[in-house]
C-alpha cells in the first residue's frame, strides 16, 4: 500500500496577544495566585474572529501551491464551534471555494478532537476514500474572567492536508485509548469549562493514560522511545510532558515547547499546532510523536520524508508568532470575547437578521468571495453581474465565476469611522483595487495605524461580519488586511 500521511501544513494565530500581566493586574485582587501565570502573552481573537474564520485562514496557508481539485473532504475539529447545528466544516469548504463534490465533518466535544480528527482523516485517506483531506483544528477559547484558564489558554488554528502523494510526513503508527477521565467538562447549556483539581489531573490522568498510549504506539511501530526526535504533548501543567518523556525514555531535547509563553494552549487545536510547528523545522528521517489528551489519548507517530524539502514557504506557527500586536487593555479583551456587556450605544441596536435565502443564493460571493470575469473583455468585477461593468464593454450575460479571495490588492481610499457602530472603533473601511482588476469597498481589520495609508498592500481574509446576538447567528464576509513582509503573508 502506498504510504500515506501529511502532505502540507498551515497555521493561523490571531495577531492580538493579551499581555498576561494586564489580566493579572485586573484580577489579582480576587485571586493573588494568578500571578504565577502572569508572564508572557497569549493569542487572542479579534472580535471578528472565531474557530471557523481561523480554520479558513489556516487552511488557506496549508493549501498554498496545492491542487484544490484533489480535495475530497474538509474536516474541522473544535470544541468552540459557532454552530451546534449547521455544519461548520461546510462554511470552511465554501470559503475555500471547493465545490459540492465533497465530504465534510465536524469533530468536537473533546480536547483531543484535533488528534482524533487526524487519526480519522488518515484512515479515510488510507482507505482511498477521499483523495486529499483537509483537516482543520481551531479553537476560540472561552474562559471565565479572573481564572487561570484565561491566562493559560490561547486562540488559534492549524490545518493539515492528508493524502497519498507528496507525503512530507508518513504515518508509522497510531494508538487511541478511550478513557472517560473527566478532568473538566462543559455541559451543553454552559459557556465555561468546569475543572477538577490539577494535581489529580496530572497524577491519574496525564501520567497514567499518556504513557500507556505512547508505549502502545511505539510498540506498533517497533520503535524505541529514544528514537523520537520530537515529542508533542499539549499540557498546561508545568513539566508534565518532560516528566512523561523521562519515564518513557524519550530524550529531553525532543520535548516540544508547548508555546505557553507566546501563544497559550489552543485546546483541541493545540496538538496539531505543535505538530505544525515541528514540521516547519523538521528534517527528513526525523520521527515525530504527537499526543492528544482528553477522555483518553490519541498518539500518532510520523516519519518526515525528503519531500518536506520541496514544500513551499508557509506562514505556519512560526510566521504567526512573529506577527503580533500586544494587547495591554484587558477590558478590550473582555469586550471582544463578550465577557463584559459594553454599552455601545443605540447604533448597536440595529437588527442584524440574515435572510437565509439571500445568504444561500449569494453563498459563492459572500462566503467564497467569488466575483465575475467578463469573457468578452476580460474585466474582473465584484459582484459578478449580468451586464459587464467595463464602460467600454457592457456585454450582457458574459461573466464566468472568478475566485478572488487570493488576489492581492492595494488601498485606493480609506477612512477610520468613529460614528458607525463597531466592536473595535474606529471602523476602518475603504476602496481596495485588486491586482487582477476589479475593486470593492471593504472593511479593513487588524489595522496597523502607524503604517496604513493610501497605497498599502492588502490581502483578503475571512472574518465575522456581524454578530446577531438576538438570534445566535454570525454572518461572515471577507475583509482586507495589510500584507506582511516575508513569506506566507
Amino acid at each position: 500500500m502506498a504510504e500515506h500521511g501529511i502532505t502540507s501544513y498551515g497555521a493561523y494565530l490571531p495577531r492580538w496577544r493579551l499581555q498576561r500581566s494586564a489580566a493579572v493586574k485586573a484580577n489579582a485582587w480576587a485571586n493573588g495566585a494568578l500571578a504565577a501565570h502572569g508572564k508572557g502573552e497569549r493569542a487572542m481573537c479579534n472580535w471578528d474572529e472565531d474557530s471557523v474564520t481561523m480554520a479558513v485562514e489556516a487552511a488557506r496557508d496549508a493549501l498554498q501551491g496545492m491542487d484544490r481539485s484533489a480535495i475530497g473532504a474538509v474536516h474541522l475539529a473544535s470544541t468552540t464551534l459557532p454552530f451546534s447545528d449547521r455544519q461548520n466544516a461546510g462554511i470552511v469548504a465554501e470559503a475555500l471555494n471547493l465545490g459540492e463534490s465533497l465530504g465534510t465533518l465536524d469533530i468536537t466535544s473533546s480536547q483531543r478532537a484535533g488528534t482524533t480528527g487526524l487519526v480519522n482523516a488518515l484512515n479515510t485517506v488510507a482507505a482511498g476514500a477521499a483523495g486529499t483531506v483537509v483537516l482543520c483544528a481551531s479553537e476560540h477559547r472561552k474562559s471565565q474572567t479572573g481564572t487561570p484558564q484565561e491566562l493559560l489558554y490561547g486562540d488559534g488554528a492549524c490545518a493539515l492536508t492528508l493524502g497519498n502523494e507528496g507525503v512530507i510526513a508518513k504515518l508509522l503508527a497510531t494508538h487511541t485509548m478511550a478513557v472517560d477521565f473527566v478532568d473538566h467538562y462543559r455541559g451543553q447549556t454552559r459557556e465555561f469549562d468546569y475543572d477538577w483539581e490539577e494535581r489529580w489531573i496530572r497524577d491519574e490522568g496525564y501520567n497514567k493514560i499518556v504513557p500507556a498510549a505512547v508505549s502502545a504506539a511505539l510498540d506498533k511501530a517497533g520503535l524505541g522511545a529514544d528514537r523520537i526526535d520530537r515529542f508533542m504533548l499539549p499540557c498546561v501543567l508545568r513539566r508534565v510532558p518532560e516528566g512523561i518523556a523521562r519515564r518513557l525514555g524519550i530524550r529531553n531535547d525532543a520535548v516540544a515547547d508547548t508555546l505557553q509563553a507566546t501563544c497559550g494552549d489552543t485546546g483541541a487545536a493545540h496538538a496539531l499546532v505543535l505538530l505544525c510547528h515541528a514540521l516547519e523545522t523538521a528534517e527528513p528521517g526525523q520521527k515525530l510523536l504527537v499526543a492528544g489528551f482528553g477522555q483518553g489519548c490519541d498518539v500518532l507517530l510520523f516519519e518526515v520524508t525528503e519531500a518536506i524539502k520541496s514544500l513551499g514557504p508557509r506562514r505556519g506557527v512560526t510566521g504567526s508568532l512573529a506577527r503580533r500586536s500586544p494587547m495591554e487593555n484587558y477590558d478590550r479583551y473582555l469586550a471582544f470575547n463578550n465577557l463584559v456587556a459594553k454599552g455601545f450605544g443605540k447604533r448597536a441596536e440595529a437588527d442584524k437578521q440574515t435572510a437565509l435565502t439571500t445568504l444561500y443564493r449569494n453563498r459563492k460571493m459572500l462566503t467564497g468571495f467569488v466575483g465575475g470575469r467578463c469573457t468578452k473583455c476580460g474585466t474582473v468585477q465584484f459582484p459578478k453581474s449580468y451586464y459587464c461593468v467595463n464602460p467600454n464593454c457592457g456585454e450582457a450575460d458574459s461573466q464566468e465565476d472568478f475566485a478572488m479571495a487570493d488576489i492581492p490588492g492595494k488601498v485606493n481610499t480609506w477612512t477610520a469611522d468613529s460614528l458607525t457602530f463597531s466592536m473595535d472603533p474606529p471602523a476602518y473601511f475603504g476602496m481596495v483595487q485588486y491586482d487582477s482588476g476589479g475593486r470593492l469597498m471593504v472593511d479593513f481589520t487588524d489595522v496597523d495605524k502607524e503604517t496604513f495609508d493610501i497605497g498599502t498592500r492588502v490581502r483578503m481574509t475571512f472574518r465575522i461580519r456581524d454578530i446577531d446576538s438576538d438570534r445566535g447567528f454570525k454572518r461572515y464576509f471577507w475583509k482586507a488586511v495589510q500584507v506582511e513582509q516575508g513569506a506566507g503573508g
Binding site: G345, K346, R347, E349, A350, D351, K352, T354, A355, T358, L359, N362, M365, L366, T379, Q381, F382, P383, S385, V389, N390, P391, N412, T413, W414, T415, A416, D417, S418, L419, T420, F421, S422, P426, A427, F429, G430, M431, Q433, G437, G438, R439, L440, M441, V442, D443, I454, G455, R465, R475, F477
Partner: protein, 399 residues
C-alpha cells in the same frame, strides 16, 4: 424631439420652515409651515394645486411611505400625490416631478414639498439602518461621513495634497458657510465659527471632523410651479424660471471598475455639463451668480467646485483658500449657510437650496442679498461618492 426644460416652468411661490431640532413639531406641522408660506407667496388657493410631489427619504423615522401623509396633512383634494425618494437628492426629485408635470401640460399648477423629521432617532447623526437585504451582507460597516471621507483620501491621493492643507481648505468652507448662516433666521445654526474651532473639533471619520459635517435636523421646504403664461395671468412679474434640471445616476463603474480614482464625483460632472447645455450656459464661472451645493461634508463641497467646472482639476484647494466661493467671492457658494447651517432634513434640502436661489433672484434675501444675481445653480447629491445620484438644477430670471 425633446427641447429641454429651459423657461417652460416658473416658480410661483416658495416656502421654507425653520430648520433645526423642532422637538415640539410633528413632520406634518413642518409640512404645513412650509406649505403655508409657499401658498401665500404664490397668492393662490389650495384647490388650484392639481398635483403634488412629496420628498421624504427615511421611512423609519418620519411619516412613513407613500404620498398619503402629505395629502392628509394638507387636506389636498384627491389630487395625484407621489412620494419620491432618491437618497439625499430627494428634494430636487420632488421639484423635478412637479416641473415636468407642468412642462408636459398634464397640469397647470403643481406642488413640490420635501420634509424630513430626523430628530426622533434618539441619537446624533442619521439613523443606523439596513441598506438592503443583500447589501447588508457585504457592504462595509459605513456611515455617511465615512463614505465621504473616502473622497478626501481619493482627492489627497490623486492631487498629492498635504493632509494639513486639505484639512485647512475643508475648514475654510465650514467657516465661510457659518458666516453666511449667521445671517439666516431660518437656519438651524446661526453662529460664526473660527478656523481653530473647526480644525480642533473631534474627529468623526478621518479626516472629517465634527465641524466638517452638516448637522441632522428637522425641516420642510416647498415650491409651487406653473407655466410662465399662467404665472403672468395670476399677476406675477419678474418671473423666476427653471433653466435646467439634470440628474445623473451611477451605474456601478465607480464602485466596481478601476477607471475611477476616487477623487471626484462622476455623476456631478455629467449632470452639470448637461445642465449648462440645457440652460445655454457656455462659461459657468462667468455666468453663474451663485451656487447651493451639497455640503453634507466640507470635502464634498470642495470637490464639487471642480465637478461643476468652477475650479480647475486639482485647483479647488487654492480657490477655496483664496475665497473664490466666499460671500464676496467670484461665485458665492452656500450664501444661505448651506447644509452646514441648516442641517440636512433629507427630503427638504434640495428644495431649501432652491428657496435661497429663488429669494436671491427675487431680491428678498435680506442681509444675505447678493448684488443683481441672474442665475443660481443647485447641486443636490445623494448616496456615496462611489455610487450616487447627482441632481443639478439652474433657475434664473425669465427674459
Amino acid at each position: 424631439m425633446a427641447s429641454g426644460i429651459k423657461d417652460k416652468v416658473a416658480i410661483l411661490g416658495m416656502g421654507c420652515s425653520k430648520f433645526g431640532e423642532r422637538w415640539d413639531k410633528e413632520a406634518q406641522d413642518l409640512m404645513v409651515e412650509a406649505f403655508t408660506e409657499a401658498l401665500g407667496d404664490a397668492g393662490i388657493e389650495k384647490d388650484q394645486i392639481q398635483a403634488a410631489w412629496l420628498a421624504t427619504a427615511i421611512d423609519s423615522v418620519n411619516v412613513g411611505p407613500s404620498g398619503v401623509p402629505l395629502a392628509v396633512a394638507l387636506r389636498l383634494p384627491y389630487i395625484p400625490v407621489t412620494r419620491v425618494e432618491n437618497y439625499c437628492a430627494s428634494g430636487t426629485e420632488a421639484f423635478r416631478g412637479a416641473v415636468y408635470a407642468v412642462a408636459s401640460g398634464a397640469c397647470d399648477i403643481a406642488l413640490a414639498l420635501g420634509c424630513e423629521k430626523l430628530k426622533d432617532t434618539g441619537y446624533g447623526g442619521l439613523p443606523q439602518r439596513g441598506r438592503g437585504v443583500t447589501n447588508d451582507m457585504y457592504w462595509p460597516n459605513l456611515s455617511a461621513p465615512g463614505m465621504f471621507a473616502q473622497l478626501a483620501a481619493g482627492y489627497r491621493g490623486a492631487h498629492d495634497v498635504d493632509k494639513d492643507e486639505l484639512k485647512r481648505a475643508m475648514a475654510h468652507i465650514s467657516v465661510k458657510s457659518h458666516a453666511n448662516g449667521a445671517k439666516n433666521p431660518k437656519a438651524h445654526l446661526q453662529k460664526a465659527v473660527t478656523m481653530e474651532q473647526v480644525l480642533n473639533a473631534p474627529m468623526v471619520s478621518e479626516p472629517i471632523g465634527l465641524f466638517d459635517c452638516c448637522g441632522v435636523s428637522d425641516g420642510a421646504a416647498a415650491a409651487i410651479v406653473t407655466t410662465p403664461e399662467i404665472a403672468k395671468s395670476l399677476g406675477k412679474s419678474q418671473l423666476i424660471t427653471v433653466k435646467a434640471m439634470q440628474l445623473s445616476v451611477s451605474k456601478g463603474t465607480e464602485a466596481s471598475h478601476n477607471s475611477w480614482d476616487g477623487s471626484y464625483v462622476k455623476t456631478t460632472r455629467i449632470a452639470s455639463k448637461k445642465a449648462y447645455e440645457e440652460a445655454g450656459i457656455k462659461n459657468p464661472r462667468a455666468e453663474l451668480s451663485m451656487t447651493e451645493v451639497h455640503d453634507c461634508f466640507s470635502i464634498t463641497e470642495l470637490v464639487t467646485m471642480e465637478d461643476l467646472g468652477l475650479s480647475d482639476e486639482g485647483g479647488a484647494v487654492k480657490d477655496v483658500l483664496d475665497g473664490a466661493f466666499d460671500a464676496n467671492g467670484k461665485v458665492p457658494c452656500q450664501i444661505d449657510g448651506g447644509l452646514k447651517c441648516f442641517g440636512h432634513p433629507i427630503g427638504a434640502s434640495g428644495l431649501r437650496m432652491l428657496y435661497e436661489m429663488y429669494l436671491q433672484l427675487a431680491h428678498r434675501a435680506g442681509e444675505r442679498q447678493l448684488p443683481n444675481p441672474r442665475l443660481g445653480l443647485t447641486h443636490n447629491l445623494g448616496g456615496h461618492p462611489h455610487m450616487n445620484v447627482s441632481s443639478v438644477s439652474i433657475i434664473g430670471a425669465y427674459e
